[in-house]
Amino acid sequence: MENTVKQLVEKYGNDRSRLMDILIDIQETTGYINSEAIEEIAQLLAMSRIDVEQTITFYHFFSTKPKGKYAVYLNTSPVAYMFGREAVKETFEKELGIKFGDVTKDGLVGLYDTPCIGMNDQEPAAIINHKIFTRLTPYRVREIVKLMKEGKNMDELRNESYGDGKNHLPSLRSMVSSNIRRKGMILSDDYQSGTVIRDFLPKMSPESVIAEIKHSHIRGRGGAGFPTGLKWEFCRRAKGSKHYVVCNADEGEPGTFKDRVILTEKPELVFEGMALAGYAIGGDEGILYLRYEYRYLNNYLLEVLQNMRDNNLLGKNISGIEGFDFDIRIQFGAGSYVCGEETALLESLEGKRGEPRDKPPFPVEKGYLGQPTIVNNVETFATAVRIVQNGGEWFTQFGTEDSTGTKILSISGDCMFPGVYEVNWGFNVEDMLNMVGAYEVQAVQVGGPSGTLIGPEEFHRTLGYSDLSTGGSMIIFNKQRNLLRDVVVNFMEFFIDESCGSCSTCRNMTQVLNNKLKKILVGKGVPKDLIDLKSWSKNLIASRCGLGQTAANPIISSLKNFPHLYSALIQKDKQFDEGFDMEKAIQASCTYVGRVPNLNHH
């Protein structure tokens, strides 16, 4: 063990900021990170033990106890439940004789819950030893358990056909489907990889690249919508010993999976976009921060990167431009939603807990390792290539005035054709629902849990930064679904789990609000509770990052757009209902100390 740890730490140049890679390697080779390994890492990197431990415990794919030879992570997103997760879960538990959260006695299989793994269009889905298993059924689970008990390898476990698109490639061999339903400038097949780097960049200055991006009015595709050209310009102007390009592929917003599809079908476009950005801001290093859920893409993406190096699209003096050096490495996360927030992502990149930083300074001034850094979404980089190829002016003809270009939507839930759709901004929700074959729609969750839940009265609204802003996640719920119980509570618990815990508002208020919501769901709510939900949730604005600030959105938007669901559950004639049951509350302690509860006594 010691030897392995030493070799690993050396492999990453005894560099503290590569702690994530070191931990991932140990987790993957030994199935967990034991106490000796932690001690060893701490010594070799001259860190305190607690610093190593706090990184380990922050990410849910790291473990200090054995996770099982086969570690099964079953997705908990609402759509997984809608399409039969409960039966799948029960079958796993029955066949293995353990509950979720446990490992079988022989250490063979561990069962775990995990938030959205980016497979919402093919649920219920699970990750087993970094491989994705989609569309699980009880029958299929029995099959998998049988094979695991026989000790089969991962290829034998996945005896199904490969998914569509490039998923059949030897370096991927994945049963995931890309489900591309509508193509636009990014997903179309009419772009020859490397065209912009080879034919355009030699004739363009970095400033003119930025000018084209600015002229296109493209805004960040991750959800926040900051003007990309401006970001690049700020970064280019910022002083630093080195400038970095970071691609945010942490896509953790439940219901979104378009980055997975872009990285499967058009990775060259994304990497070319990163190189282009490097040229524009004057940086020679790019990092793709990829969520661990997409670990299965690793070999494939490494192969793509090598191909690009072989073709002089990455490396030294790219495309013959003297001094244009740029290369990309992949940095994996280890399971944390908040790492999608750009400063939390940077912390994670540096091997630390993914806690958002205070802003300012913004990453364009002090980002990765304190140097000027741009952090952009996968889709933004891909789009930038098409902008430079065709010009900023060309780009503005797509979409609307304040939301130019196209947007790739991840559509899932109750519809006939879930998958990714590249549409022009300005598309309206009604059209979208018709396009995907949705029926008897009760509600659409636009932009994931941190977005809004809208009902039919608002289906005329359009997708764009000035109306319904979205990072791309669209989840459709039909009239049979129980929105409060199955969606709102699920999303609130997601935020509770994923809060980094730094701000007291986000750490506590999410719990308080969720408790109130649950009280209402069991029929103990009173009118005042609804007022409290609304007014208390405002405190969340004091949180440091977007996660905390939007963590009450599932409640706020459902209260606003579906008030009847709440009022139907409220006891209108009561001023106050504690929902507190003293007899129940004292039962456990009385039983344990061996005494008969006597409430009249006091």
């Binding site: 005042k528 509350a585 004292i586 302690s589 005494r595």
Partner: protein
């Protein structure tokens, strides 16, 4: 007109909020002019002897006695105020909320490293003792609470300003330095 009446109590708290109340320094003389105290550790009146206008609650509820006291405050006070982190959120005592009560009791009376004299593993089970709740509850989950004063403890100025505002009916001054969550 008789003076408004105040009652106070410390449930599952550390009396720090009461200390903070005493931290109003010389304003305590003004306070006595403004109000009259009834049930409170400050004057050691043990039971309510008249109707009370304002009840200040420190601490959350960790046992059956806390619940009874809190309910009696609700019954006897027109306005109830949760004072401090423990009353509002459960505070430090609520750290046990993620741990089953059986484990807590075992750690406290049998398994803990400082337990030395309890060789027979006796559990406190006398009928006179309050019964522990399964978790520590914030006050507003037991009775209706009208106002919340955050802090651990809330600044003396905040308690002072809030009480004066309630008594006089004047608007509450809340400069941001006065409202703290820690």
């Amino acid at each position: 007109m008789s003076k408004p009446v105040i009652a106070t109590t410390s449930l599952a708290g550390c009396f720090g909020c009461h200390m903070s109340l005493l931290d109003i320094d010389e304003r305590i003389l003004k306070l006595i002019e403004l109000v009259e105290f009834n049930k409170s550790p400050i004057d050691d009146i043990k039971t309510f002897t008249k109707a009370v206008d304002i009840g200040l609650i420190e601490g959350g509820c960790c046992n059956s006695e806390n619940v009874e006291v809190l309910k009696s405050f609700r019954k006897n006070c027109k306005i109830l105020v949760s004072v401090g982190e423990c009353a509002i959120m459960g505070g430090l005592p609520a750290l046990r909320n993620g741990i089953p009560i059986e484990e807590c009791l075992h750690e406290a009376y049998i398994g803990g490293p400082t337990v030395q004299l309890n060789t027979e593993g006796v559990m406190p089970n006398d009928d006179e003792l309050p019964m522990l709740l399964d978790r520590v509850y914030p006050c507003h989950e037991i009775v209706k609470i009208d106002y919340f004063l955050p802090g651990c403890p809330p600044r003396a100025d905040l308690i002072w300003e809030a009480v004066v505002a309630l008594v006089t009916g004047d608007p509450l001054k809340l400069p941001y330095e006065v409202v703290k969550f820690d």
